[in-house]
Point group: C2
Chain length 341, copies 2
């Protein structure tokens, strides 16, 4: 076993092949009807999950993703040393109430919609350095709990502006261990908070694009890699507005063009002709459910050899836009390597 | 450099002497007037910090603690590779808006009032394994932002029951590095969520006591240490009610008696004859400000050789008690060693 190798202020190379042993993504009905519907481990027709609140429904969704991933890895909860998870809700309610019954030691994270990248990166580091043998990284979001908290009560039926995104009802989880998984976590880059003064809580894409650009540029600089050394650069949930801004920022500020190998999960989850979704999908569950199914599968099959997953999070609170505050954003990056060499 | 050594499911020994290079605690007026008032690096007479919201005041408090700790370590923000922090507010607003301007990579944590132990433990592990050279662990709470979020608007002037605790207006921060600090972080134990069915959001002590007992017992079992091998076992904010329950639980369930070497920060921050504070202090800032000043000073001076800090957190959300939910709780432990041998 070797120590992780710090190769820059924000970037760490992992040296003991921490691997994704299994992963799972679960989703709601709208997500199940989208282009990736067939990839999810479970699709719930009832977004309420038979619960009496949207928050409890989100907890069920996250718990289901975690249990499914553990089961797919051929493990039980007792084999897991630590679960690293969080979500969008105040006090990470979806997570704490979801994880509560699992009897797994718990490290709570907060990264808003960047949480899947943050939890994957951190779980991989813990696994790599031997602090845990097996860990779970997980997150969730739910359209109804998020709208209620960040924007308007659903019952109000407010009209959504074109730059708005649709919070995914979805969850993802990955089980990490050292050794024989088909997908290896090679490297991670923790992001800095960026805030360019966007105050529109309906325009997450614009708020998060500078953070994504900063983290991608930092990652490439600190690793000495060119953008085209990645088969895919996958951002979390920039949507149509944020993706356009990311391309412009990377080109102007960093002379980097990622158009040919970039995908944004926010543009993959729904049929973009569905006018409800406007600028695309968002929420912790968006990238979590897609990375933990679609991309992990393609990595394991060797269709993708090296992928840079850049989770993007808007760190606003339910109060901050009402206080006139702009939206601090962050992006964390993690390198996933597939194809068993 | 050696790898961290995992000695149980939840416990990790650190092998490269991650140290607290400096720490700082800042507090509000009531805390400044308490028995530890003279220990704080700064006491703010105006709990509003000249801001136009309590949340912004809390951000200022946390930022002040972080900047003071970095300054005391003789470092600048550019020397810090990562800040690991969180707080009680929805979406960790005190933290994200406090950290926003610092230009330090940021890993958001959520552990409610256990956050100082969680951030110290995690920052120490990152430092120990070489993922960072220097990290900051920090947290904050503010009476006014917390009451508003978890209980009643201040203006309502609601009467507080005797089991209630007073959320500290305070923040703490510690700078970690490898090598020559006077206080070493030796070991950490991540906790599990415990929920014994307490539904009274005014009775945090009772909700958190089982988690504290579980983590202390697990720590002692996994390290093979007896409770009296610690000069001090310091819990975060159990208050009078929770401390009594902790003693009973440890005695009945684990045949462990910690009465002679236990302190609870919740019973140290205020004059317990002050009837306003009822069962004692609470909030992330309570243990953070006390551990980062009073205990770090005594450790550095060699008055305490080995201390087990057990941060205790009630993982309720602002919504969960209104939905009739009980309070999931957690405790994370970290061993601090003083006296330069």
């Amino acid at each position: 076993m070797n120590l992780p190798e710090k190769i820059g202020r924000q970037t760490v190379l992992l040296k003991n092949s921490p691997c994704v042993l299994a992963s799972a993504g679960v989703a709601g009905k709208r997500e199940g009807n989208g282009p990736l519907g067939a990839e999810f481990d479970r699709v719930f027709e009832d977004a309420r999950m038979n619960e009496d609140s949207w928050e409890k429904a989100e907890s069920d969704l996250q718990k289901c993703a975690v249990e499914t991933a553990i089961q797919k890895a051929g493990l039980s909860v007792n084999d897991i040393d630590l679960i690293l998870a969080g979500d969008l809700l105040g006090q990470s309610m979806g997570t704490t109430f979801g994880v509560r019954g699992l009897d797994i030691p718990f490290l709570g994270l907060y990264g808003a919609c960047s949480t899947m990248a943050l939890s994957l990166a951190t779980a991989a580091l813990f696994t790599d350095c031997g602090a845990v043998n097996k860990a779970v990284a997980a997150t969730s979001s739910h359209f109804c709990s998020a709208e209620k908290q960040f924007r308007l009560p659903l019952e109000y039926g407010g009209q959504r502006p074109p730059q708005a995104q649709w919070t995914a009802t979805a969850a993802g989880a990955a089980v990490l261990g050292r050794g024989e998984g088909a997908v290896k976590v090679g490297c991670l880059t923790y992001g800095k908070i960026c805030d360019m003064g966007i105050t529109d809580a309906n325009n997450m894409g614009a708020a998060m694009a500078p953070a994504a650009a900063d983290t991608i540029a930092t990652h490439l600089r600190e690793t000495g890699r060119a953008a085209d050394e990645y088969d895919c650069i996958v951002t979390g949930d920039l949507g149509a507005v944020g993706t356009k801004l990311l391309y412009e920022l990377l080109e102007k500020e960093y002379s980097t063009d990622i158009r040919s190998n970039h995908s944004d999960c926010g543009l993959m989850l729904y049929d973009m002709n569905d006018r409800d979704v406007n600028s695309g999908a968002s929420g912790c569950g968006c990238s979590a459910s897609i990375v933990c199914t679609h991309f992990m599968r393609r990595l394991a099959a060797g269709e993708i050899k090296r992928l840079l997953f850049v989770g993007t999070g808007a760190l606003l609170s339910q109060l901050s836009p009402l206080q006139g505050e702009s939206i601090p954003s962050i992006a964390h990056a993690v390198v996933l390597e597939g194809g068993k060499g």
